[in-house]
Amino acid sequence: MMARIIGVMRGNFSLVSGTTILVIVLSTVVFGPLILRSDPLSQDLVARLRPPAWAAGGTSDRLLGTDALGRDMVSRLMYGGRVSVALGVVAVTSAGLVGLAIGLMAGYFGGAMDDVIMRIAEIQMAFPLLVLALILMAVFGPGIVSMFVAFTISGWPIFAKITRGIVLSIRHQEFIEAARAIGCGNIRLIIRHVLPNVLPYIVILTALQLSGMILTEAGLSFVGIGIQPPTPSWGNMLGEGRAYLSNAWWLATFPGIALMITVLGANLLSDGLQVVLDPRARRRIR
């Protein structure tokens, strides 16, 4: 098993680097707070707006400085990472599952149902996410639940469209016909024959969408309609930092870097996965 994994990773720079980055980020946000035991919410108004340790006025116990309320940036970054990454992962999973199911149905059964579903998907995609989130937040109140619903609602169409496309292209192939000829029922056909051909692309798409959702969460929290303070998230840390650009550059810089590294990792991962999973890409050597 280990040998297989190493075999897959060999020569695949994207996969290796993407996985490494994501593992580092995940361990930091999951285990970091347990090791450091510092509180992201404890304010220390005497020590507000302290720069990072290497700049003048910085102290070594507040390695990346403090924010406007004296809260430690390092622990805020780690706790914020938990929120941002967790939301991204959960949202992409639910959007992916919903989209996969709908896409399989639409592609396999076709007809009017396919048309209706595709038009609904298009309406969904045409609805500006920001507006959707604003409205949901106005109705359900701000916070994680609204964000989760907004992401799932806006995320499923692309999974559905791609799934449907693949299903359409293999629906008339001979192995499906053969399976039906020996009496395979629809559900069994979908699960045992169609789904395995769809999954590789869905996995790749999931990695890509994950980075998209993390970025989107950051954007929504940035304008104040996502995760609400005092709960830290990389997005709302950026939003808070924006007001202090001229005197406290570290507030806005570090969350952005964290975001960038995480998204980079996810993108590299999806590229690497594409080399492994996409049969067309396998022909090409990196």
């Binding site: 500006p128 920001l130 507006v131 954007g219 806005a252 952005g256 590294i261 090409r284």
Partner: protein, 306 residues
Amino acid sequence: MSLYLVRRLMQLFVALLGMSIIVFVAMRVAPGDPAERMVSPLATDQELQQMREALGLNKPIYEQYATFLRGVLHGNLGKSLFYNESVLTIVLERLPATLQLALISMTVVVAVGIPLGIYSATHGGSWLDIIARMMAYIGQAMPSFWLAIVLILVFSVGLGIFPTFGRRSLSCFVLPSISLILPRLARVMRFVRSAVLEVMHEDYVRTARAKGLLERSVLYRHTVRNALIPVVTDTWLQFAWLLGGSMIVEVVFAWPGIGALTINAIYSRDYPLAEGCVMLLALIFLLANLLMDLSYAAIDPRVRYR
């Protein structure tokens, strides 16, 4: 083909109708209404009610919707509750700002991204390719609003070269454009590169080369033209998205465009303005989708619509 067009247009109309109902209902269900924001915090309940009546918010929802619909059919999108002007006027006023940013950004992205992508595909492993690909990876990973902040930090606060906000002068265009351009440039470049690489190994390219055609001929007439089909799709969609107003960048730079207008309208519960803006954004996106599907059929002879 024209039957397809008619069907798509009908679907577009239905989609817009559906969306208008959703927005309409959602805004009125949300807590807080414009009346609350227009009267002083010390106002009595009676004054609040009077304000609501004056704004026409007391009528049942379906009546409000019917009024709205009737207005739309006459080309009247209603009057903004806060600006006291016709919604259409306000929107049209702010449209050029967004349009300018969108056009500038997309032009640069296409003009630089496509050649770079082609070069990267054909000269794989060269210095320019490696640098371009690294920057593309990083560029795609950057949130555009964070890029905006960093640009402001470096160029406005630090060096004082470009203004921080507004749309007063030509130099005001630079930072917002760069924020919008960089991530998209990265995306297009990678897209073009992978599309060209994909096509380069197809049999018909090998045939063209075997025929003895000049490499350049092979490249442009066969490879690139076919590779660009998915790129065109994605670019169109990006442009449509930009037209909808890159809301967050507009907010960061206080750019007087449609995106910022929409956000403010929803925040202040300015019902007519918010509905008008959202409908406009949806219309733009759906139309762009339709145009894109049509151009698909025009470019790729293998695509046929019933």
